[in-house]
């Protein structure tokens, strides 16, 4: 009986939402390249959804899940800069501007622009970034690269370490999506 309910639920959800693709293993990396030091952090458990019908795109990532080479980097990132106990997530919510150029049923590499709101450290900004959607044998993957200025998100770097942390941090995101109704 429980299985039947779950099945009915998934089925009805699928009709209501059409073609949605999701991933819970999205990868987000950031690279800070300053004069004195290079710092990078990686997260492999970002959540993301693309709605093929409307072009809506969402990403979410937990700040404390970023991995670093050195313990101090991780501590400073969480405690001093991102204040991750107060702002545990970063979020993006937006839309593919040129959705018409993407044919989800046809293999290919599609260059798109995505516009939306990016929330980091409790500050929300409107951003536009180019992205690439790749369709191969029905599988959808997406990637994008963009830069974030720390000052825009009220992330303050003390003068003492200004040589160690870049004012603009490069961010790379990548995800392999699954069709929504294939939730295990």
């Amino acid at each position: 009986m429980k299985n039947l309910i779950v099945f009915a639920l998934l089925f009805s959800v699928q009709i209501a939402i059409g073609q949605k693709y999701f991933s819970k293993t999205g990868k987000i990396s950031f690279y800070s390249e300053a004069a004195m030091e290079k710092i990078e952090g990686h997260n492999t458990s970002a959540s993301t959804v693309i709605d093929a019908a409307t072009g809506a795109v969402e990403w979410g990532v937990l700040i404390q899940g970023f991995k670093f080479e050195k313990s101090l980097m991780q501590d400073h990132f969480n405690e001093n800069y991102m204040e991750s106990s107060i702002y545990p997530k970063a979020k993006f919510k937006g839309k593919i501007d040129n959705l018409a150029t993407v044919t989800f049923s046809k293999d290919g590499q599609y260059n798109v622009n995505v516009t939306g709101t990016l929330e980091i450290h409790g500050v929300t900004k409107t951003v536009t970034t180019p992205a690439v959607i790749t369709i191969k044998g029905g599988m959808v993957s997406a990637k994008s690269k963009f830069a974030v200025a720390l000052a825009d998100y009220k992330i303050e770097v003390p003068k003492l370490v200004a040589e160690n942390i870049a004012e603009k941090v490069n961010i790379e995101i990548i995800a392999d999506y699954q069709l929504m109704n294939q939730i295990p």
Binding site: T25, T44, A46, L62, P88
Partner: protein
């Protein structure tokens, strides 16, 4: 006077050594760390679904030992994950395992305890630097 200078010099060298060591210290393993809190996968997801902020107050950034039924064990680019079922069929406790951790013969359906740092809630609750707790 010379003794004092020598003492200060030695102290300085030790200080620099400790500083250098601290600066380069890798992220410490949680394996030997005692869990701050123990809970079942159902308890954690129920808390997060009811009130995320309150649940963050309890679990976020803490070393959590969670017990639950394995839904799947996955590996992607060297990162192993153990997914634990919860009372919600589409929400999991995703335990990202510490690099190099062996998951042995753990398979779907097993009930296991995993210890890791809780990073919060994104429709699933995610633990990082996780290790299996031996019974």
């Amino acid at each position: 006077m010379r003794k004092v200078l020598l003492f200060l010099l030695v102290l300085g060298v030790i200080g620099a050594g400790v500083g250098y060591y601290m600066y380069n210290k890798p992220v410490a393993s949680l394996e030997k760390k005692k869990a701050d809190i123990e809970a079942t996968s159902d308890e954690i997801i129920t808390a997060y679904e009811a009130d995320e902020k309150a649940a963050d107050g309890v679990y976020l950034g803490k070393v959590v030992q969670v017990t639950g039924k394995v839904s799947a064990v996955t590996e992607q680019e060297g990162t192993k994950k153990i997914l634990l079922e919860t009372s919600n069929p589409i929400a999991m406790i995703i335990c990202e395992m510490e690099t190099g951790t062996e998951t042995g013969d753990v398979k779907a359906g097993d009930v296991v305890s995993v210890k890791g740092m809780c990073t919060g809630y994104l429709s699933d609750v995610i633990l990082v630097q996780s290790t299996l707790v031996k019974k």
